[in-house]
Symmetry: C2
Subunit: 339 residues, 2 copies
DNA sequence: GTGAAAGCGCTAACAC
DNA sequence: GTGTTAGCGCTTTCAC
């Protein structure tokens, strides 16, 4: 076992000072060619690599980005991480991932844990608990300490910082409009509880699309559920009793649940019931019929967020920091077989 | 903006030495009650938290775990991360996630990036490129430097370290046996290229199950594909021309592809064709018919791996380090509607 | 009861 | 051309 070698050890080996070694390895012209070559050769042979921790302490920057997400076993969020990771790695940053598990408390703990010097900045999406509580002191605090934060997808106006969101409103609008164009008259909405920012926006898009299509908004056609909780009865009620001829669901999972229910009841998709979901993930591709969806472009969101964050981190003079940016990533309607 | 406060600043404020402050905050009996309280109150008020980087440098341990995975937008791997993260957080560790993107080179770069002091140990699953190349020098090197590594799922005998795997052999065996019990005679296998360790093991389980069921192994019923690459023609050929009455697929995606193909051709699942997949993810639940699968228990694997790693990290005296462990997580057959 | 000093690994301004 | 020194933030041993 050959432990990592340090400057000190190299300096001892040649009876020179540590700084000489440091300079030699940096190819400084201050050091004689001979000494330089000698030291460089030795360092290479022993696979010398500067210690990141020491560099972090010295430079007061870690080159680490903290990511806090509600969960990760989820197509959208894991694509976001993929996007962040790709851009960050390219720029020489590492990503530290924490999962809030939709809990406010975990989110706070995670932030505090990372804010003590482990990272240079945050990229995060609010947990359900935080959205419900509307308590953002932990985020404001790190921002106050001068640590940049980029909020993505589930954001809030209460915090002043960079944000990357998708146009939930338009995503929903275009999906519902598309259904209306197909001649659907009773378009049901399966959405999340109201405290979720994205749920609200999609709801508005839904309403506006109905309005523009000359269809009436019927609250009876709106169903609110918690994600990943299959409530066939509720879906069945909306679709059968209320005679829906189309479903716009704000998650892939809801959409597929609706399709399964329909199939179980002998309702044909898309002939008798059109279905469109949100989030263009694996489920959409592999379901049958394959699902028409509003694609959220998670990787692009991740990449944009990482870009905004790193730009801020690398901009040394605080004076000319840009004001908080808000980037909106366009959704696209991916047409498949369910509508 | 109130920057984070340091010991030095606190010490200045009260005209005491840094070490006095340090001790006071640690409630050391060396310091007078009065001074202690005073300093503690001030520190609390200013929300003092020791700087992690400084601690890392001092203690020569970062309390960070490096995770390197082939990808992350993938049910199995994201569950693994979830499991690792949960256990690690509980033990006061953070996880740094890197994605190798199935590439050998990226895997090497990621490892080198993290091995320079950023982390205390690794948890990783081999990239496809690495399995193909059979080159593990980068892993051996960090192990030689005294940094513990835990290999999960896609592992190799070439490296001596802790490993956590699933019983691929038995998972495949039980799935195929189950199909045989149902009276299926021509059970097709859709698997990955041979250089993947897990593919080989599942293949063996398949063969053994056939043998024990008194069925003959027919190479014509075996199809090798790259994951996430839909090759309907090939699947169709195996199922229709070769008259398969069941399919055992080594990924969820393959299984669903087979079902979709069948449905397109009017072959009824499970009546005319039984299908079983591997990986018990979202796809399996939401496909229709829902998929019978061999569950891999990703979170458990992650948790076990984190446990092994942290145990090794916290065991100070090298002398009594255990020999490399190999843990096998049992798979379970989750019966749903496709078989 | 308090403080000085060394050290973790590295850099950089400044001597010589 | 090479070395000394200070410093990043913290802990800990040893003096006073």
């Amino acid at each position: 076992m050959k432990k990592k070698i340090t400057l000190k050890e190299i300096s001892k080996r040649f009876n020179v000072s540590i700084s000489t070694v440091s300079k030699a390895l940096k190819d400084s012209p201050e050091i004689s060619e001979k000494t330089r070559k000698m030291i460089q050769a030795f360092a290479k042979e022993h696979n010398y690599k500067p210690n990141n921790i020491a560099l972090s302490l010295k430079n007061q920057k870690t080159k680490n980005i903290g990511i806090i997400l509600p969960e990760i076993v989820h197509y959208f969020f894991s694509s976001v991480i993929t996007g962040i990771e790709r851009y960050a790695t390219e720029k020489g940053y590492n990503v530290i991932v924490c999962i809030s598990n939709e809990s406010f408390d975990k989110e706070v703990i995670n932030m505090e844990m990372l804010a003590n010097g482990s990272i240079d900045g945050f990229i995060m999406s609010l947990s359900r608990g935080t959205e419900r509580k509307q308590d953002f002191h932990h985020i404001k605090e790190v921002i106050n300490q001068g640590m940049p934060v980029v909020l993505i997808d589930r954001v809030t106006d209460e915090v002043e910082c960079d944000k990357v969101i998708i146009d939930d409103f338009h995503g929903a609008y275009s999906a519902v409009s598309y259904l209306a164009e197909q001649g659907r008259k009773r378009i049901a909405l399966i959405t999340m509880p109201d405290y979720m920012s994205v749920g609200r926006l999609r709801m508005e898009g839904y309403k506006k699309a109905l309005e523009d299509a000359g269809l009436e908004y019927d609250p009876e056609l709106v169903l609110r559920m918690e994600d990943f909780y299959e409530n066939f009865e509720a879906i069945e009620k909306v679709i059968k009793e209320r005679k829906a001829d189309a479903v716009f669901a704000v998650t892939e999972f809801f959409a597929v649940s609706a399709m399964k229910m329909a199939q179980k009841e002998g309702i044909k998709v898309p002939e008798e019931l059109s279905v469109i979901g949100f989030t263009d993930g694996i489920i959409s591709i592999s379901s049958s019929p394959s699902l028409t969806t509003v694609s959220q472009h998670g990787e692009e969101i991740g990449e944009k967020a990482a870009h905004l964050l790193i730009e801020r981190l690398e901009n040394e003079n605080m004076a000319e920091q840009k004001p908080p940016q808000k980037e909106v990533v366009k959704t696209t309607l991916v047409k498949r077989d369910s509508a």
